[in-house]
């Protein structure tokens, strides 16, 4: 059967990875290509490159980096950040990305989901949603989780999947940075309404959080995290060995 995926996310700004620690065998901790290669060797099942650059020059550096990564790392690559038009899809797919993740861009222009799915296939379109509880209801936030769109998160995700999104990233603002594990309640609510792969994001602090995630919610397909891998708190190979010991199907 399909293995559960472990996905490290690299935030890239002006061509450099934002923050991070030195791993053994990694000479340049800020090089996205080196870090991606390191993660791939450690057993990452997929990589997310998240472009947090605002400038046009920065965008160009980002695609150069993507190209370099895709010419030496042969696992699926997802690109996100600043994607709002079909041209943006084209720009990153040409450089070796396999999937493109939309967030604020899709809130501004919801038809991009359907248009991109039609042009590149459902499997290529990832809808990433930053979600936070407001008065007990799940609401979609935009602009890096700062602005409440008032959109009901479950309705928004349903719309995204119906439009052709092939995968959903659920990023819980409530658990992000709190380090108490994934937002199981929010993830379960999403798993109950969609039939495409669901990726959990936000809140992972230790190996047990991943074990608990996959044990509690068999409908979740992947766990995404940045800082715990980045700061060396958890290594991907030890995480996967531990999941395997707990009878969770992973690629080792």
């Amino acid at each position: 059967m399909i293995a559960k995926r472990i996905i490290p996310c690299l935030d890239v700004k002006n061509g450099r990875v934002v923050k991070g620690v030195n791993f053994e065998g990694l000479s340049d901790v800020s090089s996205p290509v080196e870090l991606a290669d390191y993660y791939s060797r450690a057993g990452a099942d997929e990589l997310v490159f998240y472009d947090i650059t605002a400038s046009v020059e920065g965008r160009q550096i980002f695609t150069d980096i993507l190209k370099e990564a895709a010419s030496k790392i042969f696992i699926p690559l997802t690109v996100g950040g600043g994607i709002s038009t079909l041209d943006d899809f084209e720009r990153v797919l040409k450089c070796g990305a396999d999937k493109v993740s939309v967030n604020s861009g899709a809130i501004k222009n919801p038809s991009i989901i359907g248009e991109a799915a039609k042009k590149y296939g459902d499997q290529c379109v990832v809808l990433s949603a930053d979600i936070k509880r407001v008065d007990g209801k799940f609401k979609v936030f935009k602009n890096g989780g700062r602005v409440n769109t008032e959109l009901d998160a479950l309705e928004w995700i349903k719309f995204g999947v119906d439009s052709g999104a092939g995968e959903i990233v659920v990023n819980s603002i409530d658990t992000d940075g709190v380090k108490q594990g994934f937002d199981l309640e929010m993830l379960e609510a999403v798993c109950n309404i969609v039939s495409v792969p669901v990726i959990a994001s936000g809140g992972a602090d230790c190996i047990d959080d991943f074990t608990k995630l996959f044990k509690t919610l068999p409908g979740v397909d992947a766990g995404l995290a940045a800082s715990i891998f980045h700061f060396g708190e958890v290594t991907i190979d030890e995480l996967k060995r531990e999941l395997n010991k707990n009878n969770i199907n992973v690629r080792i």
Binding site: M1, D45, K67, F74, G166, P197
Partner: protein
Amino acid sequence: MLAIIDYGVGNIFSLYSSFKFIGEDVVLTNDKKIIDSCSHIILPGVGAFADAKRKLDESGMADVVKEQVKTGKPLMGICLGMQMLFDKSLEYGEHAGLGLIGGSVMPISDVIPSDLKIPHIGWNSLEFTRESKLFKYINNGDHVYFVHSFYAADCAADTIAVSEYGAPLTAAVAKDNVYGCQFHPEKSGEVGLNILKAFCEL
């Protein structure tokens, strides 16, 4: 040298790069003369069957591929490129394939339980059903990366590996000098590169 057949379908950046990475000479081409001069042929493909097959036919590449196979050159179809090797596909209507391997391409939904997600996307393990030179450098049970909603059926005699997803789905086929991988070797890490390496040594 390897020829990746260029017929205007999909993104071959990673496929091209993966051969470069393992030190092979590779060219993306639709020039018959260049293809003639190559020792190995790759038929890539993503997207919908009917659209891709039409482009393959219209570009003249369908005939070229069939001629090349007759000369005994190793050919590998990847993903939709593998599906096109078969007699026909039932993806949105019935469409003729290249007929290089007997069998039909059918919807996965026909054979798997309804609670499983479609497409079959992600890392799944290979279960060898026959010995093959393609698997020279990999092991039974190794994981490879799949993205597909249709699968090759009625081809048991030429199947060399399956992957279990509610049903044993055809993962790789081989018939004489014609090979096919439903998964993406160029996205399957070390295992995938080792499959490509074994193919290049054929």
